[in-house]
Amino acid sequence: MAEIKTLSEAVAQLVHDGDSVALEGFTHLIPFAAGHEIIRQGRKNLTLIRMTPDLIYDRMIGAGCASKLVFSWGGNPGVGSLHRMRDALSHGWPVPLKIEEHSHAGMANRYVAGASGLPFGVLRGYAGTDLPAHTDTISTVTCPFTGEQLAAVKALNPDVAVIHAQRADREGNVQLWGITGVQKEAVLAAKRSLVTVEEIVDTLEPVPGAVLLPSWVIDAVALAPGGAKPSYAYGYYERDNAAYKAWDAVSRDRQRFAAWLKELVA
């Protein structure tokens, strides 16, 4: 059963130095508040897993939380690069960062395999590309029925999954809708999970197309209104595109980033 906690308590309990952590949310419902709390609590040596690192991992990497990044598309959507990520990769600043790189389809199937209790996922992917030569969690498997060779990707089973959702009830059942990405798979694949929510309500009214995660697959639910900003929470607030653009200048410059970080942890 999920316990309803403060965000600070939940991060302290569930996210430890050295953990592999997946903060998911595909453009929508990115758990920024939780990421910021992980920075505030000074976590180090994390393996950060996320299809699109986005600003949230740019910030966590710049703050020195991560020693490894597992990802499939590392840019600032519609704007440009993630400069803190680039700085860590090319200059080891503030700490060296290793990478494990996939495609979106590969990452999605790694989460599916992890959620399904399977050791690997199968897809038609990566054929003829250069990524398998650099990523040892990409391999091939031969179909036992047709003999066809297919791509195999190692299951992802993060120590902790962290997602943001529109709402939970007082039992800790969680409901999210709109673009739902890989959050369901990430939570079910992970050993522990934390969900931040816009609001906690008495009754979860049905919403078309919603994902519902039962309380008993979640460890902690924390109230964090606005916790996906500057990404968005469908039905609550829109994506702050201006903030995504403004981040480019902050991220480009170590000193401006340091000033941003100082303000965050103050």
Binding site: T27, G80, S103, A127
Partner: protein, 299 residues
């Protein structure tokens, strides 16, 4: 990625800074582009058209290439703009799918990111990310994959990963996103890019998404179901693979562009096929007005 152009082209296409100016003056949203082809071209019937930029010509040409009713997997930036223009012109039944899981989406404004709320708002349905790749893309349900890239080579292979060596790149690009499997599994691939020498290279530094590999047999040998890149639309002209060798050759020229100009921006000895080259009709007033009326969310 489909979301994987190098930053400058995405930047100027989707988020050009003078957006306020654009709003006020109805100027194109590509004011940041340095290369312009502002020669007013007459069209059939003698109707004079508005001046236009090379980027606008490219976007209009790409939009024209999408047939009505096609199911199209759309990358953000240049492909998204062209696909949404096509939907407003000759292809109202174009089915747009974005990798965030929005199926048959009809946004009134252009999204800035692949997962903007406006895509969910206007979609027939929204599916999860594993589902969009596994159920919709992988089995071959998508007719056209619409991609861009930082580097493209003579066989239509796309690089959105690194410039230079993988372990010590001179430029780290965003990476794969959805592009490798879009390039593999769509019925065909259409590529839209700015035609520059640094981007149109003999061989890409890294094959993020396979085009025709190293020649005519590679896709079949690898068991890929889609036909691969059949058309590359740039701001200078149109390239298509040679039927025998699969090397990209010049098949069309935009108005006012010479073969020499295209060759100067191409990193392999560019062959010309289908002579005489097909001249691209200049953008019509309607095409330009619609393109310029497209606004990105939040701008």
């Amino acid at each position: 990625m489909s979301e994987a152009t190098s930053e400058p082209s995405v930047l100027s296409e989707a988020t050009s800074e003078p957006s306020v100016l654009s709003e006020a003056t109805s100027e194109p949203s590509v004011l940041t582009e340095t290369r312009t082809a502002r020669a007013a071209q007459p069209v059939a019937g003698g109707e004079p058209v508005l001046d236009y930029t090379a980027d606008e010509m490219r976007t209009v040409a790409a939009a024209r290439a999408l047939r009505d009713g096609a199911v199209c997997f759309v990358g953000i930036g240049l492909p998204s703009t062209a696909a949404n223009l096509a939907r407003r012109l000759h292809a109202p039944n174009l089915v747009l799918i974005y990798e965030s899981g929005t199926l048959d989406t009809r946004p009134e404004l252009l999204p800035l990111s692949i997962g903007d709320g406006i895509l969910a708002d206007s979609a027939l349905t929204v599916v999860s990310v594993p589902e969009v790749f596994n159920y919709w893309l992988q089995p071959g349900r998508i007719d056209v994959g619409f991609l861009s890239g930082a580097q493209l080579d003579r066989y239509g292979n796309i690089n959105t990963t690194v410039i230079g060596e993988y372990d010590e790149p001179s430029v780290r690009l965003p990476g794969s996103g959805g592009a490798p499997e879009i390039a593999a599994s769509c019925g065909e691939v259409m590529i839209v890019m700015r035609h520059r020498l640094r981007a149109f290279v003999s061989g890409v530094d890294f094959i993020t998404s396979l085009g025709h590999g190293s020649g005519p047999d590679d896709r079949r040998r690898l068991g890929l179901t889609g036909a691969g890149p059949l058309r590359v639309i740039t701001d200078l002209g149109v390239l298509e693979p040679d039927p025998e060798t699969r090397e990209l050759t010049l098949t069309g020229l935009h108005p006012g562009i010479t073969v020499e100009q295209v060759r100067a921006e191409t990193g392999w000895p560019l062959a010309i096929s289908g002579e005489p080259l097909v001249p691209t009709p200049a953008p019509t007033t309607r095409e330009l007005e619609l393109l310029r009326s497209l606004r990105t969310v939040g701008q």
